[in-house]
């Protein structure tokens, strides 16, 4: 920053390199396996940097006719997309109320919402399973969608209320109220159009959180038809059905790539808004 010497600059870049290596190395090993041929993937003699003749992208082509992977990824998209729509639709008014409207009980509700972000959800699966069992929602995509929509709700509320609080000056609404709008029409006509970028970001996050989710799908389903990619990979790894490691690792790459790329692109844009626990 100030008085930058050559030595401290070198140290800085060494530190950055170590961190990047630490973050990327386990990924690289998975990617390496995913681009090997079937045999080279399990051959201990394959060098660290494999020669060209054992490299192939067959795994990424073959995955689409193995072990119902198209179905699993399609389920992942359906679940993440539907949960995203529900969760965003519910979180917009909730977040606005927390950020702007003052009403008795606001604080208690707000801190409850904070606590839901930090709640050990594995515990909640037990009574929720019981309730869903009675409602006939176990083993259905609808049940999974409802559960994940509510799971991503606190995170969306958190993100959006931060935006409403800081991104929109209150005097815009005051002006709208003076113009004869009610609080509701002021919100719909003025605030909502201004919030489009933040709502887009919240939607992206809840999509990716749904995409990454393992727990709810794992607990609430047992049939293959309603399995998402995360749960499918778990079951394949635990069974002897598919021991084509390059194809399994290609599935992991396809599972990890969307969130990592999208978050990477959106990173500067959201900053600490990620506080909602995207990685859960």
């Amino acid at each position: 920053m100030l008085n930058e010497t050559r030595r401290s600059k070198t140290l800085l870049w060494i530190g950055i390199a170590i961190l990047a290596l630490w973050a990327l190395f386990p990924y690289l090993w998975v990617i390496r396996t995913s681009v090997l041929t079937n045999f080279a993937a399990v051959d201990p003699g394959t060098p660290y940097i494999p020669p060209l003749d054992v490299l192939s992208i067959d795994s990424f082509l073959n995955i689409w006719n193995r072990a119902d992977f198209p179905l699993f990824f399609r389920n992942s998209i359906i679940v993440a997309l539907s949960a995203m729509v529900i969760s965003v639709a519910f979180s917009i008014p909730g977040a606005y109320a927390f950020a702007r409207l003052d009403f008795p009980g606001r604080q208690v509700l707000f801190y409850t919402a904070v606590f839901t972000i930090m709640f050990p959800w594995i515990v909640l699966t037990i009574p929720v399973y019981d309730i869903f069992f009675r409602l006939g929602l176990v083993n259905t995509l609808v049940g999974v969608i409802i559960a994940i929509a509510i799971f991503t709700l606190p995170q969306n509320i958190w993100l959006l209320q931060g935006f409403f609080r800081q991104g929109i000056p209150p005097n815009i609404e005051e002006a709208a109220l003076l113009d004869g709008n009610t609080e509701i029409t002021a919100f719909l006509r003025i605030v909502l159009p201004l919030s489009a970028p933040a709502i887009g970001a919240a939607a992206l996050f809840s999509f990716l959180t749904g995409w990454n989710n393992f727990l709810w799908v794992f607990v609430l389903t047992s049939d293959e038809e309603v399995r998402t990619a995360t749960v499918a990979i778990h079951y394949i790894l635990g069974s002897d059905v598919l021991r084509e490691w390059n194809i399994l690792m290609a599935a992991v790459v396809l599972l990890v790539a969307p969130p990592v790329i999208f978050y990477g692109l959106a990173e500067r844009y959201v900053g600490e808004g990620l506080g909602g626990g995207a990685g859960r």
Partner: protein
């Protein structure tokens, strides 16, 4: 009489005490309640009602698919404290949560400090690379580390055999499974601390550094006197949130060791899952869950105290 009334009015004005009925308050704030209603319904459906039901469950002997559940008083809690596996899982979970949280905090701080020194053109790309583990699915994190540490095909295995001729079994042997679980968890989530610290560092006014440098303060003194005070509340926020998340962490350790070999790396979250969905003892599982909730709630209270002090920044 008139004077008495006026003084009552004055007191009300002074302290902001309004005499109004509940109906008045609802009418006055109808917009707030209307906006919050969908959220409240969602939370009630999947949060408030299940928790109340779950706590009630702990006083019964309910099982999955069981038709009748009898009231058994504190039996489940007595079972809990006399169960060796639970006591072990509690102890190991506490060790796991504390060591993971502490190392995540340190690695995250180092990452944030280093990234803060870089000029803006490459900063975004480099932080995206360094933060990338946090955004991968926790389940994928488990698979990735399983593959990295695997005894037949893993990198560590191959590398150590090439280097020194033998390799321990990282997921089974001695203390290695514990170390592996902690390292993998730090890898997945250290970026969370880095993101929060990064936001805090970028909000430190640069004049403060310049003033300190003019006064002849060295790099270390500038860090201690200028940077450190700005990092106190972020530290509490990270500690609280990460503690709660690490208590709740399920997918990655479950995929990596599933509490094994045997039950030697059993965490509370995995034990809760196994008790509920493998042994089908719902009531006992939620009793274990109550302990997890207490741990998470302690962290949440710490968090709320911290964000109250700088509500502008973090609420």
């Amino acid at each position: 009489m008139a004077q008495e009334q006026r003084s009552a009015e004055a007191i009300r004005q002074q302290y902001g005490v309004d005499e109004e009925t509940i109906v008045d308050r609802i009418r006055e704030n109808y917009a707030g309640y209307l906006f919050i209603l969908p959220t409240f319904v969602m939370f009630a459906l999947l949060f408030y009602i299940p928790i109340v039901q779950g706590v009630y469950l702990t006083f019964t002997n309910a099982t999955l698919g069981g038709t009748t559940a009898e009231f058994v008083g504190l039996d489940n809690y007595i079972w809990l404290v006399s169960n060796d596996l639970f006591v072990f899982a509690l102890g190991w979970s506490i060790v796991f949560v504390f060591s993971v949280t502490a190392v995540q905090l340190i690695v995250g701080l180092i990452a944030a400090l280093l990234l803060n020194e870089i000029s803006s053109s490459t900063k975004a790309t480099l932080s995206a690379v360094i933060m990338s583990p946090y955004f991968s699915a926790p389940l994928a994190g488990g698979v990735i580390w399983f593959w990295f540490l695997d005894g037949n095909f893993g990198f560590m295995n191959k590398f150590l055999i090439d280097l020194v001729g033998f390799a321990p079994s990282f997921l089974a042997q001695g203390l290695w499974p514990y170390v592996s679980l902690i390292v993998a968890q730090v890898w997945h989530d250290f970026a969370y601390a880095a993101i929060i610290y990064g936001a805090a560092l970028s909000s430190v006014p640069s004049e403060q550094y310049e003033a300190a440098a003019l006064d002849g303060a060295g790099r270390l003194r500038r860090f201690r006197d200028v940077t450190l005070p700005h990092l106190m509340i972020p530290t509490v926020v990270i500690l609280a949130l990460r503690t709660a998340y690490n208590v709740a962490e399920f997918a990655q350790p479950f995929e990596l060791t599933a509490g094994g070999p045997g039950t030697r790396t059993m965490l509370l979250s995995i034990l809760t899952y196994r008790t509920a969905f493998v042994n089908l003892a719902f009531a006992r599982a939620f009793t274990i869950g109550v302990v997890m909730i207490v741990l998470a709630m302690a962290a949440a209270i710490l968090y709320i105290i911290a964000i109250r002090q700088e509500e502008e920044l973090y609420v």
